[in-house]
């Protein structure tokens, strides 16, 4: 279906115009389409008229600057798209093992429900393996270098140490893959990426051919000429870098603490089990004390079970999320570096051009303007993504820590209930005995 879409801006990468929507459009509503081709009416939702002339012209540059301002305004509510206007739902579930002569691997069911026009059908169901997700991520990174791509769970696992086919490992990985896909689907730009569409819809994802059409790798940012030195990084990007470094440190510390707690709890559990066993063995030599001793042994056992569940949950749900975020931070730092490179290239070219201009009055070359555009757009995309990332991060950690608290509360509650019912049991017996004594 053709939409009278505005001209693609260079910042969105080299893609056929029809397949690209302006980043901002997704922030509010799907583009309002006027079929009729009156250019005057084809506008961005924020009302800015779109230049149909060459994107790299100085006038369009002016527009870009305006857009940047509007970008700031939209950034204040990054959640707007994900709450009311979701039209793409994805889920990863149903892991299955496949055994072939060559290899054994797991596939997951990827289900999609959507009302988007880019999709031919409203629902899709395909099977994908980790490799496919990896492919998707690489493609997204290549084609959307100015955006923050969510992380995948770790690719490599030590074959001897971790059982790749154990229920826990598969479930942990599946949850991470589901999260990855959801994050991509919620992203106003990434979710429209054709690679994603292919990933969600194509039955047999053949990576080597067919999709080459779509993978016109944006050479603009990917192959940045090296050797340019950055003069002055804007303060906000410095702040981002510092934040990421500190945050990375703190996450590392939290991971270490969580692991230490797991270890201590596990050792405690071992001793506690033996402790309960001693009460059980004591029962044999007693008569009157039989019931209280059995009761205590039972309560200790219940507490052991509760503690074991707590440990398992923390391993499966808490630690992997922390690790994911560490990977996320790494990939964001990479994007920051690329941005720096892009700015450095622009500054370098600009300097060279200025010198040449002084010498022989050559007009500003196109490349310089292109570079400037790239930098501006990169900065804009990055800032928008950063805000949305911050907001998502806040939500994720709120949830992570709240569930950690919940699990601990749960564990104590189970234990408390057991001890309380023991008291009730023993006190009932006591009143029983008293009444029989007085009789």
């Amino acid at each position: 279906m053709s939409v009278g879409a505005p001209r693609a801006l260079a910042s969105s990468g080299q893609k056929p115009i029809t397949e690209i929507l302006h980043p901002l459009s997704a922030a509010e509503e799907p583009l309002s389409v006027t079929i009729g081709g009156d250019k005057q009416e084809v506008a961005l939702t924020n009302g800015t008229p779109v230049e149909t002339s060459s994107p790299a012209s100085t006038s369009s540059l002016f527009n870009r600057l305006q857009l940047d301002d509007d970008l700031e305004a939209d950034v204040r509510d990054p959640y707007a798209d994900s709450t009311e206007m979701r039209d793409l739902f994805v889920t990863v579930d149903d892991p299955k093992k496949h055994v072939s002569t060559m290899e054994t691997y797991i596939t997951y069911r990827v289900s999609t429900k959507t009302s988007r026009v880019e999709f031919d059908l409203p629902e899709y169901c395909v099977r994908r393996r980790y490799q496919d997700f990896d492919w998707l991520r690489i493609k997204l990174e290549d084609s959307q270098p100015t955006h923050l791509i969510p992380p995948l769970p770790e690719k490599f696992v030590m074959k001897g140490v971790v059982d790749r086919f154990s229920e826990e490992f598969v479930e942990t990985r599946m949850k991470a893959l589901d999260k990855f896909l959801k994050r991509v689907a919620d992203h106003p730009v990434l979710s429209f990426n054709p690679h994603l569409t292919a990933f969600l819809t194509v039955k047999d994802l053949n990576k080597r051919q067919g999709l080459a059409l779509l993978s016109k790798v944006g050479e603009s940012v990917k192959h940045v000429a090296g050797g340019y030195k950055l003069r002055a990084r804007p303060a906000e990007f410095c702040a981002m870098g510092e934040y990421l470094d500190t945050f990375n440190q703190k996450l590392g510390t939290i991971d270490r603490i969580a692991q230490r707690i797991l270890k201590e709890q596990s050792e405690y559990l071992t001793e506690l089990r033996e402790y309960g066993g001693v009460y059980s063995s004591w029962v044999g030599s007693e008569e009157e004390l039989r019931r209280p001793l059995e009761g205590v042994a039972g309560c200790v056992t219940t507490s052991c079970g509760a503690l074991e569940d707590l440990g398992d949950n923390m391993s499966l749900d808490f630690l992997p999320v922390l690790r994911e975020y560490v990977l996320y931070l790494e990939s964001i730092k990479n994007v920051l570096r690329k941005r720096d490179q892009s700015q450095a290239e622009y500054e370098g070219r600009l300097e060279a051009a200025i010198l040449r201009k002084q010498e022989d009055r050559t007009p500003m070359p196109l490349e310089v303007e292109k570079c400037q555009d790239k930098v501006e757009c990169f900065n804009a995309d990055l800032k928008a993504d950063w805000e949305r990332w911050q907001s998502n991060k806040r939500h994720d950690f709120k949830q992570l820590l709240t569930s950690m608290a919940d699990r601990n509360i749960n564990s104590y509650e189970k234990s408390q209930a057991a001890w309380e019912s023991l008291i009730t049991l023993l006190q009932d017996k006591q009143t029983e005995d008293k009444t029989s004594e007085t009789n």
Partner: protein, 437 residues
């Protein structure tokens, strides 16, 4: 037997469950079921304080030791009226308690004598000091000594002992009074009964069973205390590591905007959580002390059983000797030798004796037999009395043990509930902070 048999009051268990349930609410859990003996009706007994002293010991060396203040005051008969009378007080050190107990052990061999708190700290989880001069150890020992005095004071037989009364009321001169009783002579026979290896032909099944039970109880409580100490160590580690969350959340909150406050406050709660373990384990020491008391009690039970064995053995020996003497008499009278005796042999080898010699021998034997019969009667009586009194005390002990340990287990359960509640409270608070992030 030194007791006045005058006031041998029977146990009147008056609303004991009420006493123990209010006591469990306070932190110091004394599960002593105080039975109304004549002594306790007369006076209240307290070990109120502990103090460090230095002085010269028996080898004239300077040493530091702790003394404990024993307070006694007449039991309140008039309710409500004015301030209670000032107590009589005296100071005693641990070694004097030991002396008292040894005296009681020797004087009442058929009674299970209550144990003293341990001399040196054992079964400690490593954070607790094992130093005898450590204030926590001294405090727990003070409680243990008070417990000991109350146990004796509420015992139907022991509470009437004069020297025990003097222990509570006469600071000077008590030591001399004890030594004057000459009880130390009996100490040897006591030791003999505990260490000797002798076989009883007809063991009393009840006592055998009791000794076996006591050994089993000893084993299981030792095990329990050992494992409990390890459990405490581990739990300490779990709680304390959570304190690290406090610091890292605080550091993290510094780089966050909206999340900062929530994280910071949650961090404080993690610190609170880490601190909880100190009180939790402190309280649990009381439970451990209750178990320890019964661990040491098993030694007292064992020694009563052993004493009985010795008496039984001596009885059997006396009976056997008498039988053998009677047989000898028979042989002398009839001239047949059934039992080998050296005298008979020598007379065979070196010629028979004269009629006179035989008659004098017979007379001596008759005398010996009479004495033997007296001895046998005494031993029999001794044994019967011992069995009766010992078994009575064993029954009393069994009831006491069942009640005390039951209460201890219930209060342990209550402690666990309290621990859970505290944990839930702190994590709920943390959760609220996380929600505000």
């Amino acid at each position: 037997m030194m007791a006045d048999s005058g006031s041998n009051e029977e146990v009147a268990v008056i609303g004991n469950t009420d006493i123990t349930s209010t006591e469990t609410e306070s932190n110091i859990i004394n599960t002593m079921v105080e039975r109304e003996t004549a002594l306790l009706r007369k006076m209240e007994i307290n070990v109120a304080e502990a103090e460090k002293r230095t002085g010269k010991n028996t080898v004239n060396m300077q040493e530091t030791y702790t003394v404990y203040l024993i307070e006694t005051r007449p039991a309140e008969t008039v309710p409500g009226g004015g301030a209670p009378a000032a107590p009589d007080t005296l100071w005693r050190r641990y070694s004097e308690f030991e002396l008292l107990r040894t005296f009681l052990l020797v004087t009442y061999p058929y009674i299970i004598i209550p144990p003293l708190p341990e001399k040196r700290a054992e079964f400690q989880w490593h954070k607790l000091a094992a130093d005898n001069l450590d204030p926590d150890f001294v405090e727990r020992r003070r409680v243990g000594l008070e417990n000991f005095l109350l146990r004796v004071a509420s015992h139907p037989v022991l509470s009437n002992d004069k020297l025990y009364f003097l222990f509570l009321t006469e600071e000077k001169g008590w030591r001399e009074a004890v030594l004057e009783t000459g009880f130390q002579d009996k100490v040897d026979s006591r030791l003999k009964s505990l260490s000797a290896m002798f076989r009883v032909k007809n063991p009393d099944k009840r006592f055998t069973a009791m000794k076996q039970y006591s050994d089993e109880l000893n084993t299981v409580i030792s095990q329990l205390l050992r494992v409990r100490a390890r459990v405490a160590d581990r739990l300490y580690g779990v709680y304390k590591v959570h304190g690290n969350y406090g610091r890292v959340f605080s550091e993290w909150s510094a780089i966050e905007k909206e999340m900062g406050d929530g994280l910071q406050s949650a961090g404080h709660h993690m610190d609170t959580y880490a601190a909880q373990i100190d009180d939790i384990l402190e309280e649990e020491e009381h439970y451990a002390d209750q178990l320890k008391e019964y661990l040491f009690y098993t030694d007292a039970v064992r020694s009563v059983c052993k004493k009985h064995e010795l008496i039984q053995y001596e009885l059997e020996m006396a009976a056997q000797e008498l039988v053998s003497k009677k047989q000898q008499r028979e042989e002398l009278a009839t001239g047949t030798v059934r039992v080998f005796s050296l005298k008979g042999m020598t007379s065979k080898l070196f010629g028979t004796e004269s009629q006179e010699q035989r008659e004098s021998r017979l007379a001596a034997l008759e005398q010996s037999i009479q004495e033997g019969e007296e001895t046998l009667k005494e031993k029999n009586t001794e044994c019967k009395e011992f069995v009766q009194m010992a078994w009575q005390d064993i029954e009393r002990f069994k009831e006491q043990k069942d009640k005390d340990l039951r209460e201890a287990l219930i209060s342990y359960a209550i402690m666990q509930i309290s621990t859970c509640k505290k944990g839930i409270q702190v994590w709920s608070n943390a959760k609220d902070c996380f929600n505000k992030m």
